[in-house]
């Protein structure tokens, strides 16, 4: 799960991870009041989940409160288009108003789970404010990687080593080490899957803080973090995906015309591949899961059918643990309850497959049965009438 920058910074403060002074505003008037309170020049930043906000005109400098009000009135209510939002962009509802800092150095700090070693890794670099993959590719010696034992966490000496790795010196080593230690504590206790501070800044008056923050939480662990769950902004998500998540369906909307209903992620991917290889495009990824019952299948059909781009449905079921007859009954009942007005092709395999096919054939519903995955894909592409 993702949260907004201002939410991330609010959480950071609880852990002593330093951030610029500032607050979130819903209106230009509030932005003006915050700027007055902060004194001096401020930065007004659009709050949407996508990156690339600055280039899209969503981040602006204001020299005084009156200008802060003026730029906030431009940003709040704008549809911000960045390379991550797609052409339709996102409506900006809030802005973060922060003190403008006199930056001496831009640094980089992140904590991620390293898939290869199965451990968290802290990455630190003096080359902040730029694309870190480029740094890793061109000047790998400038990117320090420090693996952490998750059972132990980090020692003060590890934090100091990282602070030196960030090029800090004198009194700032202490502040930097504290920043690193607090950030790791945040990563650990808040079940983050990724924490990226780019840039981490060193100001001319000697402070160290997170100018920007990318915070991703592990969805599997959200049950332990009710406060984070409350920060969810469903306006930032696809409405059909939000609907699917209510029923524990794993759904991702795509742009094709063949809706797929499949049990199991591996089978779903194989199904999408074969649709593509046969000459059509999948309209979605949908995994109804291993324990798919009638209610789940019914909800899944409702979501598939509310996508206007769908011209045919391919149901691909493997009864490995669940029996095909149980799944077939669920599909038949679901189709009777939901108005499905496009051709349906079903391929079914596994335990009790004969009984399952019989239930489909005797249902009185208009299903086309595919014999194997390739045949089913051909039939569903043929049903598109091209």
């Amino acid at each position: 799960m993702n949260i907004h920058e201002y939410q991330g910074k609010e959480l950071f403060q609880k852990y002593g991870v330093t951030v610029p002074r500032g607050r979130v505003a819903d209106t230009p008037e509030e932005a003006e009041a915050i700027a007055k309170e902060l004194g001096g020049a401020v930065v007004v930043k659009a709050q949407i989940h996508a990156g690339g906000r600055g280039k899209g005109g969503g981040v602006k400098l204001a020299k005084d409160p009156a200008e802060a009000k003026q730029v906030a009135s431009q940003i709040i209510g704008m549809t911000l288009v960045t390379h991550q939002t797609g052409p339709e962009g996102r409506l900006v509802k809030k802005v973060l108003v922060e003190e403008a800092s006199d930056i001496a150095n831009e640094l980089y700090l992140s904590i991620v789970l390293d898939r290869a070693t199965g451990r968290p890794v802290i990455m630190a670099s003096t080359e902040g404010g730029m694309d870190i993959e480029e740094v890793a590719a061109k000047t790998p010696e400038k990117l320090h990687k420090i693996p952490v034992d998750p059972a132990i966490g980090i020692w003060p000496s590890t934090a100091r080593r990282i602070a030196y790795g960030l090029g800090l010196s004198g009194d700032q080593v202490k502040d930097g080490a504290k920043f690193v230690a607090n950030l790791y504590k945040f990563y650990d206790e808040m079940d983050c899957s990724l924490l990226e501070i780019n840039p981490l800044v060193q100001t001319k008056d000697g402070r160290v803080f997170a100018l920007d923050a990318k915070v991703n939480f592990d969805d599997n662990a959200l049950y332990r973090h009710k406060d984070v769950m409350e920060m969810r902004d469903i306006d930032e998500e696809d409405p059909l995906e939000v609907e699917a998540s209510k029923y524990n369906l794993n759904y991702i909307k795509l742009d094709g015309e063949v809706a797929c209903m499949v049990n199991g992620a591996g089978l779903a991917m194989a199904t999408m591949d074969i649709i593509k290889l046969t000459g059509a495009s999948p309209a979605n990824f949908l995994d109804v899961g291993g324990g798919a019952n009638q209610e789940m299948v019914e909800n899944a059909f409702r979501i598939l059918m509310s996508d206007k781009g769908v011209k045919a449905v391919l149901i691909n079921i493997f009864g490995g643990i669940l029996r095909c007859d149980v799944l077939a009954e669920g599909v038949v009942a679901a189709v009777k309850n939901v108005n499905v007005n496009v051709p349906i092709v079903i391929r079914m395999e596994g335990t009790n497959v004969e009984q399952g096919r019989e239930i489909l054939e005797n249902s009185g519903l208009d299903f086309t049965v595919g014999d194997g995955m390739a045949d089913a894909a051909e039939k569903v592409v043929a049903a598109l009438g091209r």
Partner: protein
């Protein structure tokens, strides 16, 4: 022969008194699995399907010896149960739950590595050595429909697809030595390399089918292992999800491992590396059986 699991393997069931375990213990016993004891905190002294239940793994191990513990434990309690098994000295642990927090998995796998414990999973559907034993949900209620003894080792990140391709082999008259569902999560214990290493030493395994997924470098490592001579028998592989590479936002799916990140993890790259290592790569599911037949010299 087989790997990791056979009819002699002494199996401990953690979460033995739960509904899932009560449903699956009889199917495992009927298949020949040697279940020696069950563990459920606070349920010591009970019996499930003739199996004695203890409140702790340590208590169970005072009365029985165990080679493998299988965890029928919900995701949020799996960390604790796995750590208990590891710290009690059980040599192998099969974690079935889907949706375990990543930090929990990270801690379990770190401890397991230190202790030298083999972890299969998390998010594994279980294991099956046809004709001998099975653990987890693999094979469902009619395992003989999908599995039959034979020379092909099967290893898969997807539980469903591993079972389905085993069934396709069984239908074609080709049996399996052992099937391992290594798990669909981002972080898992035993990877392809670990399993291939064990199949290499198993004289009855003549060929291996591996089913991968997008995301992680697991298939890349397998390719490197094969290319460097760590595995010398024929390998047939399928990696679905190439279609996803053209999508702007990578799909996350329920297999958290299937995240395509920055070029690494792309199915096209995995397939190229595997081909370069001499692996027979199937683009479509229906190509798997003919490729296996050819690899076994039965064209």
């Amino acid at each position: 022969m087989s790997i990791i699991l056979d009819g002699e393997t002494r199996v401990l069931v953690q979460g033995a008194t739960g509904a899932e375990a009560r449903r699956l213990i009889p199917t495992m016993q009927d298949y020949g699995t040697n279940i020696v004891a069950g563990v459920s905190p606070g349920k010591g002294g009970e019996r499930v399907c003739g199996v004695s239940v203890y409140s702790t793994v340590a208590a169970a191990l005072r009365e029985h010896e165990a080679d493998l513990s299988v965890l029928f434990i919900p995701a949020r309690y799996s960390r604790d149960a796995a750590l208990e098994a590891i710290d009690s000295g059980v040599p192998a642990v099969n974690v079935l739950a889907e949706g375990i927090p990543h930090h929990d998995a990270c801690e379990v796998l770190t401890r397991a590595k230190e202790a030298g414990t083999l972890v299969i999973g998390p998010n594994s559907q279980g294991m099956m050595s046809p004709g001998k034993a099975k653990v987890g949900g693999t094979g469902g209620e009619v395992p003989d429909l999908m599995f039959t003894p034979g020379p092909v080792g099967v290893v898969s990140r997807s539980g469903g697809m591993g079972a389905e391709l085993s069934m396709a082999l069984t239908r074609a008259g080709i049996g399996q030595s052992t099937y391992i569902a290594i798990g669909g999560d981002l972080l898992v214990g035993a990877d392809f390399v670990e399993i291939l290493g064990r199949f290499e030493k198993d004289p009855e395994t003549e060929c291996v089918v591996m089913f991968g997924e997008p995301g992680t470098a697991r298939e890349d490592q397998a390719a490197e292992f094969i290319a460097s001579g760590g595995f010398t028998k024929p390998v047939v592989a399928m990696i679905p999800g190439e279609f996803m590479e053209n999508m702007e936002t990578p799909a996350t799916q329920s297999h958290t491992g299937a995240l395509i990140e920055r070029g690494v993890g792309a199915p096209s790259r995995k397939k190229r590396l595997l081909r370069e290592a001499g692996v027979h790569v199937a683009e479509r599911f229906t190509e798997i059986v003919p490729l296996v037949r050819k690899a076994l010299g039965k064209s």
